[in-house]
Amino acid sequence: MLFPSTEFAVFFGCVWSVSWLLREANTARKSFLVLASLLFYAAWDARFVVMLLAVAVLMLVCGQWIDRNTARRRRASITSAGIIVLLAVLGYFKYADLLIASAMQFADLLGVPLDLDLVEVAVPVAISFFTFHAISYLVDVHKNTIKASNSLLDLTLYISFFPHLVAGPIVRAREFLPQLAASPLQMPIPLGASLALIIGGLFKKVVIANYLATALVDPVYIDPSRASMQEVWGAFYGYALVIYCDFSAYTDIAIGIASLFGYRFPQNFDQPYRALSVQDFWNRWHITLSHWLRDYLYIPLGGNRLGRWLTVRNLMVTMLLGGLWHGASGTFILWGGLHGLVLMVHYGWARTQTARDWRDHPHYQAACWCTTFHTVCLLWILFRSPDLETAGQFLTALVHAPVGAGGLSTTLLILLALGALTQIVPKQVWAELAQAFEQKPVALQSALVAVALLGLLLLAPTNAAPFIYFRF
């Protein structure tokens, strides 16, 4: 069930209405939202609904068990056991085939051929996301950051709530569970901001990402060697906008919809292509994943507290695992590893006296922005390419493709400019527009929303592609 679909519009209309009717009965309302979320998940793949419920039960049992033990080692053992179970399930579904294939290749290299069967099992939708939610809950209970919940209903709603279920943002239990204590629909909601996120998100996905992907990026990546120089460079910059407009659209819509239900989700993107370093980029891109990796991997590994060499090791391990989280393939691992390498270089450079002296100089900042943006775009090639061979072909085409054999249409240039505007227009402008919207009469507000929806429906291609992050 895609957000920009008739099915979701009907689903949302029904669930929002019933949820409002149940506003005085918080438990009934939460139960209904759990049922709706499981239905939403079942629309993707009904086979794995039981797994989602099992993860919630594991969170309840382990959380309560940790909470009842005061002995530090015992609490750590229970937390570790819970995390191992979660990672084992994730590993089986997502990485078993990569491990088996790698083992066979390694055995071949050693001259001992190994013939193993691949698991070839369907990967449950959103398994990475709900596993990360569950791990953060167990660790937070272990660290006493939050109190263990004794409500299976709350925990199930926490991991399965449909706006964030499939592709994030990753919401921490300490942010979400307290919001379940009372029915939030009795409180005012930021309607203008929510609608700006939803309609803006739909525009980014349905218009910018869809058209740029289908008309520019996808054709070039099918065979980079046949594209012209203009097309290859168009796809180079175009994919940076496609993946941003696609993924940020999903999380914007998720945040907007959750807000209409009275729940607040954290921000997930902050104009990432304005970043002045790759470290800055990761503080603006998929913020909830970056912070998750920082809090539950980088810092437990020692963070930057154990000296220079262990800091760079921790950066590399975090980014390699971050790459692996995106998918069991060499391109993702290399993408993560190269981001780790760039972060290591930045870590070293940022500590020099020269970098400190130049930090506030506008020319230095412009050079930092240009270097960061092009580094990120260059690494997106690995992220987008189905294999290393295609990535190599694309890199070669960036230099050797024939000039002038085929150009970019004005419409494509307009779409690229619209994508760039998402990074250029200050966030304050959208906040002010949302604020102005709040002050309009209801009839005008409704008319504006209707016009926006009709515009989107008129512009929408007949079949919208699924969101890129669904497969993670």
Binding site: Q445, S446, V449, L453, L454, L457
Partner: protein, 82 residues
């Protein structure tokens, strides 16, 4: 502190807008409902509701115009984008 609205007000804004979108493109909802009804996921008894909206929209001339605008806009975009 930014200004906020009640859920009731949000509903008064959003549901009419969704209804307008339904009236403008009733075929989308009818086709979705028909597919679900065939699969047994939606009661067949609801289908007349969706058909009625299609007929109503056609009678007042909304859906044919919107569909024509959609098709011509998409065709022009397809033609100009490449």
């Amino acid at each position: 502190m930014s200004q906020q609205s009640s859920i009731r007000r949000a509903m008064l804004v959003i549901y009419p807008a969704l209804l307008v979108a339904w009236l403008a493109f009733p075929g989308l909802v009818r086709d979705w409902a028909s597919e679900r009804a065939t699969q047994g996921l939606l009661p067949q008894g609801l289908m007349p509701v969706f058909e009625t909206v299609v007929v109503l929209s056609e009678q007042i001339g909304v859906s044919p115009v919107m569909q024509q605008w959609h098709d011509s806009l998409n065709a022009r975009l397809d033609e100009r984008i490449r």
